[in-house]
Structure formats: structure tokens, C-alpha cells
Symmetry: none
Subunit: 208 residues, 4 copies
DNA sequence: GATGAATGAGTTTTCATTCAT
DNA sequence: CATGAATGAAAACTCATTCAT
């Protein structure tokens, strides 16, 4: 039992405290942005002293990096769930069944705030950019293998399939920016059109 | 003649200096982000004293707003050009002819950096958000009217047409994020697929 | 005519402009205090450019000094009027007849604001202090001579008379501070008691 | 014992440091005025870094407020002492016995400088004005009750008594301004006349 | 006389980070 | 582990003053 909890917690209570910091920082970054969140505020939200934050993270940037890494795990988890929840139908059915949920997630202001914060940071900060890119590669690969397991369209070679999967991801990325720029954007209509495009990309569009 | 140039208000030297500030700030924001660019640095880049910046802008935020506004004018200009350059073919031909150029523009690291910076700022700063949204509405409306002038698909009512045009914009938005997350992203393939989707959206997809 | 206007205006339009500055500065100092009033704001209120203020005053402090000097002239004028308005009765009657008006003047927030501003400045700034003290001496002497003309109490020698006149001035000074500290201070009752004390000081109190 | 000192909250070292700031700021304000005393200078005088000042005070204004509050406590203490030191005689005797001391205090340049600084600030700054007014009310009430305990003149109803006590306070207020304007002001003669007026106000002046 | 663009030092305030306890 | 006092280097912004026009 003790061993098990060790394995889970990586180092007992310490890991828990570390997660507290990440949780608190994520919330702060969402609401106030990276530069708007002082260590003092984060430490307060995490229920510990400012000084003690530095027990778990070398500096403020390290917190951003850790959050970026955690984001990866969350999405990977989502993908795993996606495959398990498959009730029937082909690839397109499986994907389109999730669309509404992903649309909602990607247009949630809290998610959008954190995502854009990370992206803007990545655009300037190579360390953060590296993490985001590695994370993306990981997720992209996982998604690709999932699609192959479920049954990829025979007409598309690997490169073309990958490209089309990326186009799907691109649309979800675009949603976040679109929602920000147009508060009246119709999410249901968007989900419907996205599903149409997914089907088009995976079944109808000529292979080339 | 002199009166004419006065009316324009641009040759007033004061306006020139103001533009200097915007130019410098744009460059700084791209490279260092909004919060990473101090007034001191911007003033240095603009070739004037820090105090003098405040002769032209009430505060730092006002600079962001002015940049956002300028961005709007640039895109509006692009749209105007788009219509004038129409050499032949239908709506889809006109649009797809521009795709490669827009892809290039939206994935240019300098453009992407500024854009994400503005978006991240807008996600938290209501003043900036307002400007971006107004700008977007303006551009969206202009695009919509352009399409109607050129010849909108008969099968789509106004609301549905607008939605599909927004989906096109959404893809270009998504490009910026995708490029950041995947440095190996294949731009040519993306342009080809985007054009396929544009045709799908405006000619093939069922009206509903 | 020309000569006359020269004599009056000291230097034609220039003096007028100078007075404009003083007027504007006085109003600004009242409302925002010495340190709260920038040259920019004063120049705006005076209807001229910031740079041109320095045509009339060596620096900001010189404006304060000029205002302090002007204050002296205003009060001297008041004293002259006091003697002319004498309708009848003895010294005490003459003085008490003015009390209500002086009470009102000294508790007017605008007057109080400027007065305290000048006093606080004088407490630190020797130049301003000198001006205020010289002004006070001038006014005190004038007041003293006025009282002698009207008819000083026989029982008091010059030094004692002067002291008692100063006590009267002291009460009016105190009013300004009292009004600030107690917004409910009853001005009518104060005027009544002040008049009682004036009579006490000039007619009843033992000479010593 | 330790608990007791903790309860007092003064020995907490933190409180000591806080007092250091107040001491330093008081001295700075006296010498240079509120606006003439930068946080940098105050911090230097207090023997700590500029940033650390903000550990104890939210902003510069909060320091002024704390000083105003401390002034209140000092005067309240004085009043307490006044009652305890009562050796004999009636109300007027008790009051006049203190006059010389209060005259000296109110004409001490250091005290005068701080007082006028606070007053000038209060004339414009509502927050400071509130504090000064609350403090004044507190002290006025305390003074009033003290007089009633010692034995108020039977002929005066409460409102009239309070008014006359305020007139006494007014004279002491006036002293501060008078001393500033007339460096040769005779303090002994002033004390003598003030005592005469106190007796007049509490024993001789008709009740009305 | 008159303007207002321009400067640059100075102001308050914030904050990541360190370290004695 | 944990605290929070302490630092000091920024940051944004203001403003008296100067000077070319």
C-alpha cells in the first residue's frame, strides 16, 4: 500500500503540494495572465508562503513550463477516453460524436485564456515553445495511431492522412481565436459545419 | 495643396512621430510581448524620450489599441485589393487564388507573434477585446458584402452564408496556432486542403 | 489716455497676461494644491502655452510667491473698505459689524484651501515664509493705525493694544482650521462668541 | 508574560519596524512636506528598502493616515493626563494651568510644520480629511466629557458649553498659523490673554 | 511675443527572488 | 519543510523646464 501510494504520488505529500501550486497558478494565469499573476498571489491561492514556491520550482517560468506539460497529459487522457467510448460506427462517426464537446471546451473562456497565454508565451519563449511542440507531437502521434487502429481511409497514404488530421486539429485551434473575436459566434452551427468538413476530409476529398 | 495634405493629417510631422511609435511598439511587442516591452525600450526603438511617448498616447494600453486599429485597416485594405484583382472565375476561384498568400501571411512568425500577443491581451483586457471585436465585425461585414457583390451561392441564405465565411476565417486563424505548435507543418498541403474546404463550404456542402 | 492706461497696466497687455496666470494658478492651487497643479494645467487654465508661462515667471515657485503677494494687497484693500464703511458707533461696533463677513470668508473652502496651501508651503519654504510675514506685518500695521484713527481704548498702551488686535486675527486664523476639522461647526454661534471676545479684549479685560 | 506582550502587539518587531516608518515619515513630512518627501527618502530615513515600506503601508497616503491617527492618540493621552494632574481649583483653573504648555506645543515649528501639512492635505484629500475629522470628533467628545466630570458651568446648556470649548480649541489652532506669520509673536502675552478669554468664555460671558 | 515638441530625471509602486529563522 | 521579512531593480507615468520655430 505504502509502495503503491509512493508510486502514485511520486514522493508522498511533496508531489501533492507541487500539484497545488500548479492548480493555483493555472487558475491565476487564466484569470490574470502570466505577467499579471505575481508569485505572492499564486502562493496565496496555493495556500503556502511565497518563499516555499521556490522549493518546488526554480523560478516563475518553470511553473509555466510545468503547466504546459500538464496540459499535454490532459489531452492525451482525452484521446484515450475517445477510443474507449467508441460505441460503434466508423472513424468519422467516432470523431464527429466528440465534436460538440471539443467545441465547447475550446471556446470556454477559461480554457481560451490559458491557451492563448501559453501560445503567446511560446511565440517568444523558446523553452515554452519546445514544450508545446513536443506535447503537440506526442498528441498528434497518439491521435494518428488511434485513427489507424479504428480504421483509416484506404485511399489516403500516411502523410496525407496525417495532414488531414492536422487540418481537423487546426479547426479546433481556430475556434479559440474566433470565439474571442466574435462573441456572437454560433457554436452549434460551427459544430455542424466542422462535422461536415471532417467527413469531407476523411471520406470525400480527392486523395491527391 | 498644402491644405489638402493638412486635411489628411499625416504629413503633420506629429503624425509621423506617432507612426514611429507604433512601428517601434509593434516590433517590440512581436519580439518581447506586451508586458515584456517597457516604455523605455519602445521609446528607444522609436528614437525619442520615454516621456515623449505620452505626448502621443495616454498610456501603454492606448498603444496596443492603436496597433489593433491599424491592423484592421491593413486587412480592410487587403479585402479591397482582393476585389479589384478579380480577374475572372466565380467566387470560389477568387478566394482560392488568395489562399497561398494568406497562409504565408498568417504563418509568418512576426505576424503570429503580434497576433497572439493581441489575442492573449484581449482575453483579459476588455478594452483591447472591444477593439479586436469591433475590428473583426467591420472586416467580417466587408467580406460578406464583397462576396455578395461577386455572387453568393444561391442555395445559402444570408445567415448560413455568413457562417460559412466565418468558418473560412476560422481556418486562417487556426493556421497561426498550428504553425506555432508544429514547426514542420506543411504549408502547401495546408493551402491545398483549405482550398478544398472552401469549395466544399461554398459549393458542395448541403445548405441545411 | 495712452499714458493713463500705461500707468494702470504697468506694461499694457503684458501685465494683463501675467494676471491671467496668477488668476489661473490661484484657482488651480485652491483645487489641487501646489504640487497637484502642473504648469501644463495652469497654462491651460490661463489660456496660453506652457512655455509662455516662463515669460512671466522664472519658475513655478515664483508663481506661489506672486500669489502670496497678491493676497496681501487683497486684505489691505479690505481694511481700507472697513474704515470707509464705518457708519457710526465706536471701535468695537465697527469691528463686530464685519465679523460675520470675515467668518464666512475664512471658512470658505476655496479660501481655506489656498490659505493652508500657502501656510504649509511657508512652513518649509523660506522665500514664501518671508513674503507671508512681510505681508502680515504690513496688514497688522495698517490695522493698528486704523484702530488708532477710529479711537483706541485709553487703558491700553500700544504694545498691549497690538497684542490684543493680534488675538483677534488669531481667532480668524483658527476658524480656518476649525472649519476643516469639524464640518458641523456652527458659524453663527462662532461669530457671536467672537464678537463677545472682541468686546472683552478691547473694553473689559484688565489692562495689565 | 510573553503572551501579554503579544497581545499588545507592539513587541512583534513587525510593529517596531512599522513605527520606524511612521517616525521617519513624520520627520520627513515636517521638513519637506508630504509631496516633498519621496518614498525613497522616507525609506532611507527609516533604514529599510523602498519596497519594504509597502509591507507595512498600502501606499503613501496610508502613511499620512497612520500619522494622523497617531496624532489623535497623542492628544487623547494629553487629555487623560490633564484630568489626572488636576491638583485643585475649578474647571478654569485646571484649563489655564495647561495653557502655557499647549501654547508652546502648538507653536513648536516641528509640530506646526506637520500640522499644516496634514491640514493642507486634508483640504484636498477626502481620505485624510475624514481621518482628521474623526480624530477631532473623538478628542472633542473626550474633552467635553472631561469638562462635565470636572464640573461644567451651570449657566450653560450642553450645546453652548460645547461651542465654547470649541472656541478654546480654535484659539489654539489659530496660534499655529499666527506664529508662522509673525515670528515675533509674544507667546507669554498670548498665553495670558488666552487664559483671560477662557475665563471669560466659561464664567463671565452671558449664556444666551 | 508665443507655441508646443522634447527631454530626462524623478515619482510611486510592484515583484521575483533570497535567506535568516 | 515552511515562513515571511527584506531587497533592489525594474515598471509606468508625470512634470518642470528648455528651445527651435
Amino acid at each position: 500500500m505504502c509502495a503503491a501510494s509512493r508510486t502514485r504520488g511520486e514522493s508522498d505529500k511533496g508531489e501533492l503540494r507541487r500539484q497545488q501550486v500548479l492548480e493555483a497558478a493555472t487558475e491565476c494565469f487564466r484569470r490574470e495572465g502570466f505577467h499579471g499573476s505575481s508569485i505572492a498571489r499564486i502562493s496565496q491561492a496555493a495556500g503556502m508562503s511565497p518563499g516555499h514556491i521556490y522549493h518546488y520550482f526554480a523560478n516563475k517560468e518553470a511553473i509555466v513550463e510545468a503547466i504546459a506539460e500538464r496540459e499535454e497529459h490532459d489531452i492525451a487522457e482525452l484521446l484515450r477516453k475517445l477510443e474507449q467510448d467508441r460505441e460503434g460506427g466508423g472513424l468519422v462517426d467516432m470523431l464527429t460524436r466528440q465534436t460538440a464537446e471539443i467545441v465547447e471546451r475550446n471556446t470556454d473562456p477559461a480554457y481560451a485564456g490559458l491557451m492563448l497565454e501559453l501560445a503567446a508565451e511560446a511565440a517568444r519563449n523558446p523553452a515554452v515553445r519546445k514544450i508545446l511542440q513536443r506535447s503537440e507531437r506526442e498528441i498528434g502521434g497518439q491521435f494518428f495511431r488511434l485513427v489507424q487502429r479504428v480504421g483509416a481511409p484506404a485511399a489516403l497514404d500516411d502523410a496525407e492522412l496525417q495532414m488531414r488530421l492536422q487540418m481537423i486539429a487546426l479547426m479546433f485551434n481556430g475556434l479559440t481565436l474566433r470565439m474571442l473575436n466574435d462573441p456572437d459566434f454560433d457554436l452549434d452551427a460551427a459544430a455542424r459545419l466542422i462535422n461536415g468538413i471532417i467527413r469531407f476530409l476523411l471520406e470525400e476529398a480527392p486523395p491527391r
